[in-house]
Amino acid sequence: MEPILQVQDLRMHYHTSKGAVKAIDGITFDIMPGETLGLVGESGCGKTSMGCSILRMPSPPGRYEGGKVIVAGRDILPLPEKEIRKDVRWEEVSMVFQGAMNCLTPVYTIGRQMLETLQEHREMEPGEARALIDEYLKLVGLTPEVAQRYPHELSGGMKQRVVIAMALFLKPKVVILDEPTTALDVIVQAQIINLLKKLKQTFDLSFIFITHDLALEAEVADRILVMYAGKIAELGTNEQIFGAKGPSHPYTEKLLQATPLLHKKVEHLHFIPGTPPDLITPPKGCRFNPRCEKCMDKCREEEPPLVEIEPGHQVACWLHAKN
């Protein structure tokens, strides 16, 4: 089977007056149809930049510095903007932005906002469009009556369902979800996660699920990509990261230990001292070395390569790299 999306050695830097912020610095991965890839890391690790870069809309002053984003066999980076709008963005790949549910216009009804997305891309009779809107509202578990309502009349969970419906409208193959449940309560969060799983089964969709919550990734992601300071720290299957053996990169390990467990009372929770590095002048060697407990001399000097330690499990750490 061909991967639906391939990212190859992607580099995207923000050019600020102080220098280039290397937000994405050589990232390679691919996603199969019907697969969910979880993207985790602390704030400032480049998760959202990654999502926007795949849609070819890095926020200014971001610029691509190399690499490829291949959607259904075609590299989209050299394409003109017009073609991206026509064929790629929202048609092939769509995104639910962080806090998207708060970006619904308060002065339009839900139906009208959904219609706008549709008209931008498709020529459609009003009746036909309305039928489609109703269908998608039902699909995300809402009643078609919601189309007549205004955003302030809906709860957070309902608004999140509306923006998910809008991202699915044009039948994309890949949907990027940026922290889709952070602002929601646990029960509503579990409802949304169930909805995503059902949608994935029905449409054979691929998701990129961005969050800082590892526990949530364990519920949804087939494979997990752990980002640190614009680079891949670890990439592995759900079992390889969350299984009995535990993760292999010290960063993933620490993140997991910092996640409080509900059913296990611990006296002392772990945390990672310090903050992610400044990406204008990242630390020499491994970018995690100033915060790593297992740091060796080599880590301060040379950057560790990303090596495959078992099939499908890649780690960038000197503890695992053979010379």
């Binding site: 969910t36 602390e42 704030s43 709860s155 957070g156 969970g157 309902m158 309560d185 646990v186 029960i187 509503v188 969060q189 579990a190 409802q191 996660i193 169930n194 799983k197 059902k198 800082h212 919550d213 590892l214 526990a215 949530l216 990734e217 364990a218 519920e219 949804v220 992601a221 087939d222 759900n238 079992e239 990261i241 969350f242 299984g243 620490k254 993140l255 997991l256 910092a258 996640t259 409080p260 467990l261 509900l262 059913h263 009372k265 611990v266 002392h268 929770l269 772990h270 945390f271 990672i272 001292p273 903050t275």
Partner: protein
């Protein structure tokens, strides 16, 4: 036993009267629905304990916190703090109360004046309460407070601006600011929800250390059961303005009695493999009803999987003890 209790809240209520809309005021309509944000809450907080108030958005947990802080006045009920009635306080008495009960806010980015240096941020409460007049004494107090929250070296931080600090450091400063007044109790409303996961544990750990060292009492308000388990001694679970279950944290989480608490616990994701293909069964559906329109009888019956007609017809169940200080408000707890 009674001497142990620092704060006693009895049947506390806060009802909000919504303003009339323009059209309503013209037509003279009197259809104002009262929003019952807090609707009869009773609990005791013991000296030196961490008491967790848990609930979804709309459960009234933040309003309860504001009532305890005396930022708003209750509609009904009484509050006793250190043996004194504090239900209605004014001017000097209120100022004295606020000195003893301090608050740590949710958003460390919004709770500090960006034009104040850390020194000014910390001095503000001393100025307001007119204490530590001498400059040297003040300096000493600031440094002591910063040391307590483990900001090392303390002198270095005094001259910095808030924007130079990370979220975690700001929350430390916010804690130091409250400590300067030697409070007896701290109200912390979601103090770590805006902080990165990697540092969340660090802040909770620091707060716990401070609490132990200084013998403080905390009221910890959160929606996050996992941190509550780690952080608190006792938990009260709120639903639509009332407490539905209360007791020692371990008991509530390992052996919940109320169907709502059970549902909350079931919904929490855990970092373990083998759950991707599984669609989690959720015992309750829908979302929390509006506090302007509270269901009759047990207010949870509209979403409860075990509800029988009696649940909506009989009056609201009161909290009952099922042993070991574990209280719950469910009529059918033995059957479910």
């Amino acid at each position: 036993m009674d001497n142990d209790i620092i704060l006693r809240v009895e049947n506390l209520k806060k009802h909000f009267q919504p303003h009339l809309t323009f059209s309503q005021s013209i037509t003279g309509a009197k259809k104002r629905k009262v929003v019952k944000a807090v609707d009869g809450v009773t609990f005791d907080i013991r000296k030196g304990e961490i008491f967790g108030l848990i609930g979804e958005s709309g459960s009234g947990k933040t309003t309860t916190g504001k009532l305890v802080m005396k930022l708003i006045d209750p509609t009904e009920g009484t509050m006793t703090f250190q043996g004194e009635d504090v239900t209605h306080l004014e001017k000097e008495a209120l100022k004295a109360y606020r000195r003893k009960v301090q608050m740590i806010f949710q958003d460390p980015y919004a709770s500090m004046n960006p034009r104040f240096k850390i020194r000014d941020v910390l001095e503000e409460p001393l100025v307001i309460h007119k204490i530590h007049g001498d400059r040297n004494e003040r300096e000493k107090a600031l440094i002591k407070a910063l040391t307590e929250v483990k900001m090392n070296p303390p002198e270095e931080f005094l001259g910095r601006w808030p924007h130079m600090l990370s979220g975690g450091q700001r929350q430390r400063i916010a804690t130091a600011r409250t400590l300067l007044l030697n409070p007896a109790m701290l109200v912390a409303d979601e103090p770590v929800s805006m902080i990165d996961l990697s540092t969340r544990a660090e802040i909770l750990h620091m707060m716990k250390d401070v609490q132990r060292d200084l013998g403080l009492t905390y009221l910890y308000i959160t929606h996050d059961l996992s941190t509550a388990r780690y952080f608190t001694d006792r938990i009260a679970v709120m639903y639509l303005g009332r407490i539905v279950e209360m007791g020692p944290a371990d008991m509530i989480i390992d052996d919940p009695k109320h169907p709502y608490t059970k549902a909350l616990i079931d919904a929490v994701p855990e970092p373990m493999s083998g759950k991707v293909g599984v669609i989690k069964e959720l015992p309750i559906s829908g979302e929390i009803p509006s506090p302007a329109n509270i269901p009759s009888g047990c207010r949870f019956h509209t979403r409860c999987p075990y509800a029988v007609p009696a649940c909506s017809e009989l009056p609201e169940p009161e909290l009952e003890d099922c042993g070991g200080g574990h209280l719950h408000a469910c009529r059918r707890w033995k059957e479910i």
